[in-house]
């Protein structure tokens, strides 16, 4: 048995998924948080019920990538029940999706979430009456307070018991003449079995939904498909737009008719404080200082100073170097009297002395503090406001405000952010953003280490900011000029500002740290093993000697070659390596600046490359990497030259 949670972006689907299954998925206050499906389950008596959380959609006809994910899921998995989650405040805009789901003949429960805000806005909604009018259960909830969740579970239970006798009432839609006639024609022709009703398939076909046309072509025989094409070409007078218009408005008017009978507005405004705070974030005069404050206190002081400074110094300098490493080394030397094994476990690049130390003592505190700050920003609803503020700047580099979400997410982890490029509109924006993520956006570990180390060099951070910033703007600008396609328009829903909930901040930070740690730990361990094998066979030194001339050209000591090699396995691994080298005292100030800049720009790590290839194909992945590799070293070389002249 399968239940799917479906609805517009940012309405609380993921919160409800968590309540139903106990499984945590990321919840944030901006549209487009969820970009992939997540499965979970719960037990109802003997019955095992599978539940799936999906990315938000604006309609069943997908336009962006994450909407396609949801429609594909509904189409291929054929869920037995759909919970359509809506934001009660905006039910006028969202009820048409309920209507589409009912047209497709899904069994649907309508969950009217955010009832707290509904009441605050002075909206009175009679859910019982709505339920009678559309013939499906309607459950009001305040998911963050768990209000209505029990009732929701009870109704789901009832449905499980009486599944056979459950039937949706039909909602009659009166499409304009030509469309109505052609819906009947087409749905009458379809012989295949689809997960959506014939009426709904006919509607997709009439709107020339490319994917659905392909499905129909594959399923039906050639004659039927030809006849359908004849209808599309000869029997429809309107263009794509007017058909879309007629269909959308028919549903919209129906929704309004229904709501007229059960919804009353008493016109209250948003609370004063909330309105003022929102203005402060979106107006340039106050918004730009806020961005700077967030960067200074959130990133520089808290992540760079506290996380990468105080905590790392303690964990790395004291806990590992003074206590754990010596202890462990003595044990290993006593218990395992074989040189090569000792080398693997506690040698210079040993699993314990290097892999574990990097992961636990350097990366973890930085990534942890970063995710904490980041969660607060996400949950308050700040990011869409930031998007609005910088839209014009991003336009210069061929993007628009929407790209803020993946770019800022990239400061946490570039790999994760590459997936989020799905929420962007055009292939061009996606590829451009992916390129910038791979090239110029440092991940949290890099950011923490680099800002921590460079803060000790006079002018260091300024150099880094200027060079990386210039690279980002100029590469973006040029790539924007050369990549084919048009620049897309900017639109984005700006959700209400909400107080971040400490509970969610903690669960989210914990979940991300857990995910991150499990992701990097094995890689760090494998790297130690690989290096160990390399050392035994002599390959490691050969590889290093290949890289050495390159780093020497940048004016760096030969030892930094290892750091770059690390950086290729994982960005954060390279960052930790830089930290290590710096503390050995072999890098001078200029070297630190050059190494920091080159490492930031240097190739996307293996994980990121894998995601790039998965999302955009091997060609794009290799092209981007092939460009970045020489480019990063080239820039590093330039900076080295500049520094030695000055």
């Amino acid at each position: 048995m399968k239940i799917a949670l479906v609805g517009s972006p940012n309405v609380g689907k993921s919160v409800i998924f968590h309540h139903l299954t106990g499984k945590y998925v990321t919840v944030s206050n901006y549209p487009g948080t969820t970009v992939e499906v997540t499965w979970g389950q719960f037990k109802w008596g003997e019955e095992k019920v599978e539940v799936v959380d999906t990315p938000g959609i604006y309609s069943l006809f997908p336009i962006s990538g994450e909407e396609k994910v949801t429609r594909d899921l509904l189409f291929t998995e054929e869920p037995d029940l759909i919970l359509h989650i809506v934001d009660g405040k905006n039910i006028q805009r969202m009820l048409p999706i309920t209507i589409q789901l009912l047209e497709a003949e899904f069994r649907v429960i309508l969950v009217v979430n955010m009832m707290d805000e509904v009441r605050r806005c002075g909206i009175q909604l009679d859910c019982n009456k709505l339920s009678k009018l559309i013939g499906i259960p309607v459950i009001p909830t305040v998911s963050i307070k768990k209000e209505g969740i029990l009732e929701l579970k009870r109704v789901i239970g009832e449905w499980i018991l009486g599944m056979e006798s459950w039937s949706n009432s039909k909602i009659l839609l009166n499409y304009p003449g030509e469309i109505k006639l052609n819906i009947q024609r087409i749905s009458g022709m379809l012989r295949g079995k689809y997960s959506f009703s014939n009426q709904s398939m006919a509607l997709f076909v009439l709107q020339q939904d490319g994917e659905m046309l392909k499905v129909v072509q594959k399923t039906e025989n050639q004659r039927t498909y030809d006849r359908i094409n004849t209808i599309l070409e000869k029997r429809m007078t309107g263009d794509k737009r007017s058909v879309a218009y007629a269909i959308t408005m028919t549903r919209q008017r129906k929704a309004e008719q229904i709501l007229a009978k059960c919804l009353e507005l008493h016109g209250a405004k948003n609370p004063y404080l909330q309105r003022k705070l929102s203005q402060i974030c979106t107006r340039p005069l106050s918004g730009i200082p806020i961005v700077l404050l967030v960067l200074y206190f959130g990133i520089y002081r808290f992540v760079g100073g506290f996380g990468a400074g105080v905590v790392v110094d303690f964990l790395e300098g004291v806990v590992f170097r003074q206590w754990l490493n010596p202890l462990f080394t003595t044990w290993v030397e006593r218990l395992l009297p074989w040189d090569s094994l000792q080398l693997l476990l506690v040698g210079e690049y040993g699993i314990f002395t290097l892999g574990l130390r990097y992961a636990v003592a350097i990366i973890l505190p930085i990534v942890g503090t970063f995710f904490l700050v980041f969660s607060i920003l996400e949950d308050s609803g700040y990011l869409p406001r930031l998007a609005l503020l910088v839209d014009r700047v991003l336009k210069v580099i061929g993007l628009n405000g929407r790209a803020v979400i993946p770019l800022v997410l990239g400061l946490g982890c570039d790999t994760m952010a590459t997936l989020t490029t799905r929420i962007l509109e055009t292939k061009r924006e996606k590829v451009l953003t992916t390129l910038l993520l791979a090239l110029a956006i440092p991940c949290s570990a890099q950011l923490g280490v680099i800002s921590g180390l460079l803060a000790t060099v006079p002018g260091g951070l300024i150099w880094w900011l200027i060079v990386v910033g210039t690279v980002m703007l100029s590469v973006g600008y040029l790539a924007g000029k050369f990549l084919p396609g048009e620049q897309g328009g900017f639109y984005m829903e700006v959700p209400s500002l909400r107080w971040p909930r400490p509970g969610n901040i903690l669960s989210k930070t914990r979940a991300r740290i857990e995910w991150y740690f499990l992701e990097i730990l094995p890689i760090f361990v494998y790297s130690s093993v690989l290096i160990w094998i390399g050392q035994l066979t002599g390959l490691f030194t050969r590889l290093l000697s290949l890289l050495e001339p390159v780093v020497k050209a940048l004016g760096l000591p030969a030892e930094t070659a290892v750091t770059f090699l690390f950086g290729f396995f994982r960005r954060d691994y390279g960052a930790a390596g830089l930290f290590d080298i710096y503390h050995q005292g072999i890098l001078d100030d200029g070297g630190l600046i050059v190494a920091s800049i080159t490492l930031t720009l240097f190739v996307p790590c293996l994980a990121q490359l894998a995601v790039m290839i998965k999302e955009y194909g091997i060609k794009v992945g290799l092209l981007i990497t092939g460009f970045i590799f020489p480019f990063a070293f080239g820039i590093g070389y330039l900076v080295h030259l500049l520094l030695s002249i000055l």
Binding site: Y58, S59, F61, I63, K89, N90, Q92, R93, C121, I123, D239, K240, R241, A244, Y245, T248, M249, Q252, S278, Q279, T282, R283, P284, P384, A387, L388, L389, D391, R392, K395, N400, G401, G488, G489, F490, Y491, M492, E493, V494, P495
Partner: protein, 76 residues
């Protein structure tokens, strides 16, 4: 009076009259966001980007997109 949304000033209101884009996907997106004929909009901010109140949500739009949306001015 019919004008483009981008011609309204902060605080002014209007009723959507037409969407003047011939890109079907973008047209559809605007419809689904709630910009269909008859919806009432109010301009909250115009710089650096437009912020439009639409029902109980706010939507950020750039100038170009606002220029595609034709409204009947309803401010008294």
């Amino acid at each position: 009076m019919k004008v483009n949304l981008s011609q309204l000033r902060v605080g002014e209101q209007g009723k959507i009259y037409a969407l003047n884009t011939d890109k079907a996907d973008f047209y559809r997106k605007l419809l689904n966001l709630g910009f269909f004929p008859g919806s009432e909009v109010k301009v909250i901010q115009t710089f650096p980007t437009y912020l439009i109140q639409l029902g109980f949500t706010q939507i950020a739009l750039d100038r170009k997109t606002c220029g595609l949306i034709e409204v009947l001015v309803t401010t008294k």
